[in-house]
Amino acid sequence: MAGAEPPTGPTRRGVLETGVVVGAALTVVGSGAAGAAEPQRAGKTVTRDIELDVNGMKRSLTVDTRTTLLDALREHLGLTGTKKGCDQGQCGACTVLVDGMRIASCLTFAAMHEGDKITTIEGLGEPGRLHPMQAAFVERDGFQCGYCTPGQICSAVGMLEEHKQGFPSHATPNVAAENIPLSDAEIRERMSGNLCRCSAYPNILAAIKDVAKVGGGAA
């Protein structure tokens, strides 16, 4: 019976994790040589022991100080839901929530986030208990390839919370207004930090509107 046994073939996650271990071993073996081969500047790799609070769990790790929060999540903690797109803050694929606020995890160092509460797509929900925003993206078909989706969803959750707190946007006709209706133009402007190369924008918009209507959004 196919369904009775756990799958035995290689999984994407398994391959990635093996890759991380091999990569780490190479780094240890090669660190001295790599330092010497670095022509531009002397300077040894600096590591630091840090503790991160990710999805409600305290995780201890040793990172090179240059490790971005994005790389710490993916390469050290195996949380590969958070995606690396441009790695320079332009695409939004790496969006996570830090203390409830959406940020680009590629433009911040992991060592700067001790004491912060970090929520990734894995912490928002999982199969069987999806976050309302995840469910809405499925329902509305808010993706094609799916690469930008975790970032879109984390960003949308953070965006609705910002709106709840009364944040105006560039699409707000009068920034001093008390109540700002979440129009299509408002949602599009507020989500402009998340690119989708498949151009699933109309369905992303529909998914976000579904969740906004029932007042959801909190992580």
Partner: protein, 316 residues
């Protein structure tokens, strides 16, 4: 990226002590521009002092205006009720910049210190006097559609990319600075950033080890306010040009090495000139480099349009 040591500072004195006397050390706050530049090896600090936990994140009423802590995030500043009601031009400028994710990280102090988006400054394979003094300016004869038309030099035609700083300049803000000697000094926004001259690598009057602690706003000037920005996309792009108007005070963005207070335009307005005449007066000294020639007529029209918008805002 070059390896670096890292420490988290708990107080202003400690942070300054950790950076002063170490030319290879830098403060890091939001990091949205510094980390970007570290990745391409334009910035190569050997030591980072994390100032995010200093007690500088409050917006306080002060002297009829506001005192904005250097660590107030761009999103928090744009959403502050007092800013939205009394300094809407600042709120509008902040919201016209970057994305939601970046505004949640970027700070008031860091925004002032962000560096130019000149393509050649980012490309370490090309000469750039700002990145490597004495190597030459690739933009003079290169792709220069985003470059300066006012106050540039033969050494550098880069522009300061901030939106926020343009509004602060129009509003007559001041920058509060803590010094390594334990003193505090205040510099008007108009004097905080420098023109390139023969030293484009110098961008502000900050001395080594000095830390921005706050930005203060005087009471808003009488009259309406407005911020308008022209960019290549409808959202999330740096300005090609921008205009901030607060009453009779006007500043221009992405036209020079610094946020540009349009003093000549203001003088023309004061002596009864029309907005078009005011813009004309300001642009008498403007100079294009080919790719950016379009900016000069565009600024003229944008000044007129933004002043009209500010006037409409007064009536509303």
């Amino acid at each position: 990226m070059r390896p670096f040591t890292y420490e988290r500072a708990d107080d202003v004195k400690g942070a300054i002590r950790a950076v002063a006397g170490r030319p290879d050390a830098k403060f890091i706050a939001g990091g949205t521009n510094l980390i970007d530049l570290m990745k391409v090896r334009v910035e190569m600090p050997a030591h980072l002092v994390d100032v995010n936990h200093l007690p500088l994140a409050k917006i306080e009423d002060a002297g009829g205006g506001l005192r904005i802590g250097a660590l107030v995030r761009n999103s928090a500043l744009a959403a502050d009720r007092r800013v939205r009601e009394r300094y809407p031009v600042l709120s509008e400028a902040l919201l016209a910049g970057a994305s939601g994710q970046l505004r949640n990280k970027a700070t008031t102090g860091g925004n002032l210190l962000q560096r130019t988006r000149c393509f050649y400054f980012y490309n370490s394979g090309m000469p750039c006097n700002k990145r490597e003094p004495g190597s030459g300016c690739s933009a003079l004869q290169g792709m220069n559609r985003i470059h300066a038309v006012l106050g540039a030099s033969e050494a550098c035609i880069a522009v300061h990319p901030s939106d926020m700083a343009v509004a602060l300049t129009a509003l007559g803000a001041q920058v509060e600075i803590a010094t390594p000697a334990g003193a505090a000094r205040t510099v008007p926004m108009t004097e905080f950033h420098t023109l390139p001259g023969t030293h484009p690598e110098v961008e502000t009057v900050l001395k080594p080890g000095e830390l921005i602690t706050a930005v203060t706003l005087p009471p808003p000037p009488p009259g309406g306010q407005a911020y308008r920005k022209i960019r290549d996309r409808a959202s999330y792009a740096f300005a090609l040009i921008s205009v901030a108007v607060a009453g009779d005070q006007v500043a221009l963005g992405s036209v020079a090495h610094k946020p540009w207070r349009a003093a000549k335009a203001e003088a023309a307005l004061k002596s009864g000139g029309s907005p078009a005449a005011a813009a004309h007066a300001e642009l008498a000294a403007a100079h294009g480099y080919g790719g950016n020639d379009y900016k000069i007529p565009l600024i003229r029209r944008m000044v007129v349009r933004t002043m009209a918008q500010a006037k409409e805002a007064t009536r509303a």
